[in-house]
Amino acid sequence: MEEIKQRVIQVLCTTLSVGEDKISNVDKFTDIESWDSLNHLHILLGLEKEFGVKFDIQETANISAISNVSELIQRKLN
């Protein structure tokens, strides 16, 4: 789980062009400084690429925070 979380954070850093320190104390994406609705889609697509999964339209509603997205990915990977 911790490993998945780390990889999610990495995707966020790359997509939003921010350092890890900006994310370490945050859970909800909307609390990250450079997040906006536009790059939300990039985060989603970036996560799909990183983990080789595909989120269906219902699941996309749960892609809003590091914790819930990590859980979702873990479930999908198992």
Binding site: T14, S17, S37, L38, H40, L41, L44, L45, D56, I57, T60
Partner: protein, 625 residues
């Protein structure tokens, strides 16, 4: 990935110290195996290199995109596509779904003097009331086509207003079907079928756009046809973010934009330089003999025949062909003479280098011989070592990395947009043939010892006529492109020349030529303005491939006749020297013009036409229209 990123930041750091050339940028962003290109684009954005004040205007491209859907997602793709041709992009994206408002208010962010291209994204669903798409049996009808056509006309109305004070290219996507027909397999039985509906509506769009100067239809329907509509549209992304296309298709769209950018910036390639052995045919003629090389009927041989057909297609639309091969000339002449299964004939080639010199040197000579810049050349060779040699020796040449599998060559060549131009007139389509005829002329010149008898053997005719709407695009393109035999190198737009044609104070003269080898097409332009007592030669130019045959003398003869016709006797002219127009430097004094004033940047001349006679060369017949 981290290693890749480090290497990247090193490159960009280097570029910040010294700006890269167009070709250096292109080779980084246009690499065939673009792995982490999104990372590249992010690094580019972060570096702020795009805002560097050292870039010249001509290196930049300013693109405005507006329409329906979240078009911001296109941005990184367009940045990549621009940089892949060495252009520094500036991209402005209109407000979400505000196409008509942006056009009606002429939003300065989107439409202004510095913008090279306005690109409109708009589906039929955005033009027609949405309820129309709830009833396909009503929509797919003659009436439906009329309604769609009216909606397009309404949009064109806005574009016509935009055209009045905007000089850049206007580009609009065509419309495309994305479903299986709502009528299933009964579709083709309908008077207006699902697919026919879209082609009819697109025909209407094309008709309107043809009448709108400097505009074009971006063929998104064709792209979707090749890529597949189910892959091109990601319904999930549409619902989530109103994102009109899939990631993969954004990339395809951005690739298709590249020939437009090159067209706008005038960096179109003209010449395809080809290797022979294992490129035009299978095997090596020096070893296998003319009857041993492979051109079918086995599958591999057929692949080479298909490749030749694709080359012929390019030649027939104006691409100039050249040979650059390590061979004995006699061996290859034998192939062209004796193999009737060769699609390409020797007389299609404008320059032939069959020797044992290095291929970079040959390319250099080819460009000299046919009088085009090295940046007009595209090099195709099956041998990676030759490709590397040419690429490293001359960065301006575009070196193609052909697919490993030869069966893909024909399609690969057809998909290359390097030779595309925004407009293909009759003259442009004949360019390949005209350059090839030039080689035959030169060979005749070499074989004829007496220049005078060579001239007479050409049976040259020069046709003189006033400019018309029909010749307008060609006149403007010559004015814009001719650098060498050009007295003043003044560039004019279609609108300006059109004004001159109508103005009695101006005379627009154009000159076509032909000889026993074929037609040169429209190759010369002269612009005269009439003052009270004198006439002034505002522009005078001749295409470089028609130089050195006395055509320029016939042109001046015609100009003098025009001046006398309005009752004037003094013709004045200016020579504005540039780096490239040395060939015309002594033309006026040679013809008897007197220098009246001059400094380094402008030399003024004058001639009294009652005093001095301007003769037409005896080997040229003049035809007046």
């Amino acid at each position: 990935m981290e290693k890749e990123n480090n290497k990247l930041s090193e490159v960009i750091e280097q570029w910040q110290k010294e700006l890269p050339t167009r070709y250096q940028m292109a080779s980084l962003f246009d690499a065939a195996t673009l792995g982490n290109w999104q990372g590249l684009v992010r690094a580019w954005g972060k570096s702020q290199l795009g805002e560097d004040p050292r870039w010249e205007r001509k290196q930049k491209v300013n693109i405005s995109i507006c329409g329906f859907g979240t078009l911001q997602y296109l941005q990184p793709y367009i940045v990549r596509a621009s940089l892949a041709d060495g252009f520094i992009p500036q991209i402005n994206i209109g407000s979400y779904n505000q196409l008509f408002q942006e056009l009606a208010t002429q939003n300065q962010q989107i439409i202004n003097d510095t913008v090279d291209l306005v690109w409109l994204f708009c589906d039929l669903e955005n033009l027609l009331p949405p309820e129309k798409f709830l009833d396909y049996s009503a929509l797919l009808s003659e009436n439906g086509i009329t309604q769609a056509s009216k909606a397009i006309e309404n949009l064109i109305h806005f574009l016509k207003d935009t055209r009045k004070n905007f000089n850049g290219l206007i580009l609009i996507n065509d419309f495309f079907p994305t479903l299986r027909s709502p009528f299933g397999i009964a579709d083709s039985g309908r008077e207006v079928s699902y697919s026919n509906f879209f082609s009819s509506v697109n025909n209407e769009l094309q008709k309107f756009i043809r009448d709108l100067p400097y505009s074009g239809v971006f063929p998104i329907s064709g792209l979707i046809g090749r890529y597949g509509s189910e892959r091109a549209i990601d319904r999930r992304l549409q619902l989530l973010a109103d994102c009109p296309f899939s990631e993969g298709f954004f990339f395809e769209i951005s690739q298709e934009l590249r020939p437009y950018l090159r067209g706008i910036k005038g960096t179109i390639r003209k010449v395809l330089v080809l290797d022979l052995d294992n490129t035009l045919w299978g095997g090596v003629v020096g070893e296998d003999g003319w009857n041993g090389i492979n051109l079918g009927p086995d599958p591999l041989g057929k692949a080479f025949v298909e490749f030749q057909k694709a080359i012929l297609g390019l030649y027939k639309r104006g691409t100039v062909l050249a040979i650059n091969s390590k061979n004995n000339l006699e061996d290859i002449q034998e192939v062209f003479q004796k193999r009737d299964d060769m699609i390409l004939k020797l007389e299609f080639f404008a320059a032939i280098r069959a020797n044992w010199d290095d291929k970079a040197k040959n390319c250099y000579e080819i460009s000299k011989e046919i009088n085009v810049g090295l940046d007009s050349l595209v090099f195709w060779d099956d041998n990676p070592a030759e490709r590397m040699l040419v690429h490293q020796a001359i960065e301006e040449i575009y070196v193609i990395d052909p697919p490993e599998d030869i069966s893909g060559w024909a399609t690969y060549l057809q998909n290359i947009s390097l030779f595309d131009s925004l407009h293909l007139g009759r003259e442009d389509m004949r360019r390949g043939e005209m350059y090839a005829e030039n080689r035959q002329r030169k060979e005749a010149e070499v074989s004829s010892t007496d220049l005078n008898s060579y001239y007479h053997s050409l049976s040259l005719k020069v046709e003189c006529s006033g400019g018309t709407e029909k010749t307008l695009p060609r006149i403007v393109s010559l004015l814009g492109r001719t650098n060498q035999f050009n007295l003043t190198t003044k560039r004019y737009t279609e609108q300006e020349i059109n004004r001159f044609i109508k103005d009695t104070k101006w005379e627009v003269r154009c000159y076509s030529a032909e000889d026993c080898f074929g037609s040169y097409g429209l190759v010369g332009v002269g612009l005269i303005t009439f003052g009270e007592n004198t006439a002034f030669l505002d522009s005078f130019l001749l295409s470089c491939r028609a130089m050195g045959k006395g055509i320029e003398d016939s042109m001046l003869y015609d100009i003098a006749a025009c001046v006398r016709k309005v009752g004037l006797h003094t013709l004045t002219a200016s020579f504005l020297p540039t780096k490239k127009n040395v060939p015309i430097q002594s033309f006026l004094p040679d013809k008897g013009f007197m220098e009246t004033r001059g400094d380094g940047s402008e030399i003024q001349y004058s001639i009294d036409l009652t005093d001095k006679k301007i003769e037409n060369p005896s080997h040229i017949e003049i035809i007046n229209f």
